[in-house]
């Protein structure tokens, strides 16, 4: 009997192969006129394939092409996939860490003080449900810099899950642990760092994990809107040319990078986990 993991892996691979096979055969071969073409046929591109959903084999060829030269730079509007993803990751991480810098201390404050919680809660409840992209026009206008605006949008969408989870985690630290700290006459500062922070860490990291997922979702949309650089711009630029092969390839890349970002936070989550 194979182990559970091995069986799952076999199932995954089978599922992948079957779906790729079904995808491949369900794309009808394009009817491309051959032989002598009239002028009209030439002009409507009768001798060339039309825009359409490509079979997976074509996507793989495209992926090989793009990934074998990921860092080319042919001017401000045409850069390799590696450079585009690099820009997107840079924006996401900058906005994200700025959000963490504010959300975690503020979440601590809210979690420890009921007054602060009650005072700030109305603001959080109103601002939290606003779609990050709704901030985009305002950000562009006020900040007057599209790069900084994209980072701001990441910042504003990353802040809420971290803030709320931190507050929740801090507020939920068991009363007796804090009481033990009090009987040892620890300072408030020391209590926060040696007792509350480790106790709340798993919840805080959960918030951070949710945030990075949202941030990656948002950056693609933001870059499609503003253009310039980044993986979102790449998708938009290929969409401009109705090049679905490149669009599918970049969708896969977005998925892979998103997964990597999530697993990095997953790793951190396992390190701060504890059993009571």
């Amino acid at each position: 009997m194979l182990s559970e993991n091995k069986r799952a892996a076999i199932w995954s691979v089978t599922l992948l192969l079957v779906s790729l096979f079904v995808w491949e055969i369900s794309i009808p071969a394009q009817q491309i006129t051959t032989g002598e073409l009239t002028e009209y046929e030439l002009l409507i591109g009768a001798g060339t394939p039309k825009a359409g959903v490509p079979p997976p084999s074509q996507v793989l060829v495209k992926a090989w092409e793009e990934l074998s030269n990921p860092f080319y730079d042919a001017g401000p509007n045409d850069k390799g996939i590696g450079i585009q993803i690099g820009y997107s990751i840079y924006r996401v991480l900058t906005g994200y860490f700025m959000a963490a810098l504010i959300a975690i201390p503020l979440g601590f404050l809210i979690g420890m003080s009921t007054v602060a919680y009650k005072a700030l809660n109305p603001f959080i409840q109103v601002l939290r449900p606003i779609s990050p992209l709704a901030w985009m026009p305002l950000a562009l206008f006020v900040i007057q810099d599209s790069e900084a605006s994209a980072i701001f949008v990441i910042f504003i969408c990353s802040i809420w899950p971290m803030l709320i989870n931190t507050a929740f985690g801090v507020a939920g630290v068991r009363e007796d642990w804090v009481n033990v700290a009090r009987t040892h006459e620890l300072s408030a500062f020391k209590t926060a760092f040696t007792v509350i922070l480790p106790a709340a860490a798993p919840t805080i990291v959960t918030g951070m994990r949710i945030s990075i997922g949202i941030a990656w979702l948002v950056i693609v949309a933001a870059e499609m809107l503003v253009g310039g650089t980044g993986i979102g711009y790449y998708v938009w630029n290929e969409w401009n040319n109705l090049d679905l092969t490149s669009v599918i390839f970049s969708i896969l890349m977005i998925g892979v990078v998103g997964m990597l970002l999530d697993s990095a936070l997953g790793l951190l989550q396992r390190r701060v986990a504890y059993t009571e």
Partner: protein, 425 residues
Amino acid sequence: MPAAHMSSEEMLEQAVESAIVRSVFGHSDIGRRSFMGMVGGTTAAAALASVFPMNEAKARILENLGPPEKTDLNIGFVPITCATPIIMAEPLGFYARYGLNAKVIKTAGWAVARDKSLSGEYDASHMLSPMPLAMTMGAGSIAEPYIMPAIENINGQAIVLSNEHLDKRDPSQWKGFTFGVPFEYSMHNFLLRYYVAEFGLDPDVDIQIRVVPPPEMVANLRAGNLDGYLSPDPFNQRAVYEGIGFIHILTKEIWEGHPCCAFAAPLSFATELPNTYGALLKSIIDATQYASKAENRVEISEAIAPANYLNQPVTVIQQVLTGTYADGLGEVQRVPDRIDFDPFPWQSMGVWILTQMKRWGYIEGDVDYKGIAEQVYLASDARKIMTDLGYDAPAENYKSHMIMGKSFDYNQPEAYIDSFAIKAN
């Protein structure tokens, strides 16, 4: 492209020569023409050179601006063929010729182009010709004085219908249709409204007009989300290329020589960096004139089709620029001026645009038609540079235009609006 560079260089020299010849004869066209006719242009220049230090004069005209205050410039463009001169000026070296290191930056849409221009991220930008008027008046954005010293293209748009509507060539059958236009403050919107209204349809009631970014037009047409659109090329030709739609009518048949896209900048750019502004305008006007020559169009198509610029198949771009195109109805059409390039910003065109903005309720109250047109459409800047470069520039700033058989008198804008049966109340 060294070949293009050479020929343009020669063109420039020729331009300077002809400017000198002209200056010798003053502005008496008759004297100059008859003299040139007698001895031939080159001989005339050579004859003059014997008594006149031609090379020195050439150098002086090229340098009469003084060095640009700022050479690294960012110029925004939306990837459509209307932006041809702005785009090609980079790969074909027109910016470099006037001492500028300008980068053209692809922009996802006009709202973003407007915002990036307002924020100073772009020094100048490709815009739709109604935009600087609207921005100056604060319609659809905050009011900020804008200038438009050059038109980019004239003509060059089309109404495309989905192949489902092959039998509905009469616009009065279009009731209930949904059309796409690229932006509210666009010639596309105003021409489509004008066109359907001439056939008795109220564009605000009988059809739906949606703002759709140009790249999304083709896919929306395929999905049946749009019945047709009046959009910039290459997306008209692209619909034919993809076998989804056909070209119902070229906009040049609505208004021969209508303006479309433009080169615009905030007024502050021109006042704070006058030499840079001058050099940039020279490159743009020079490139526009180069693009207007039919024999250069194939070369230009190849220069602007790559991913860095339009990111489109060369055949599609070439059909738009050369005017030899498949119409989607089985015919090859030959319309060399399907799109043309003419930089002169007629102020009467600005007045017309304002009348349509008023007609459809985009602006209200008393409008100082000529005042705004003269403030934004800098005809005299264009004229000066066209003359400096040796091109013929119109002597007037206004002319009357003929739109679908109806003449537009720029002196009577209010009467013109009142003459339409269909308009917003």
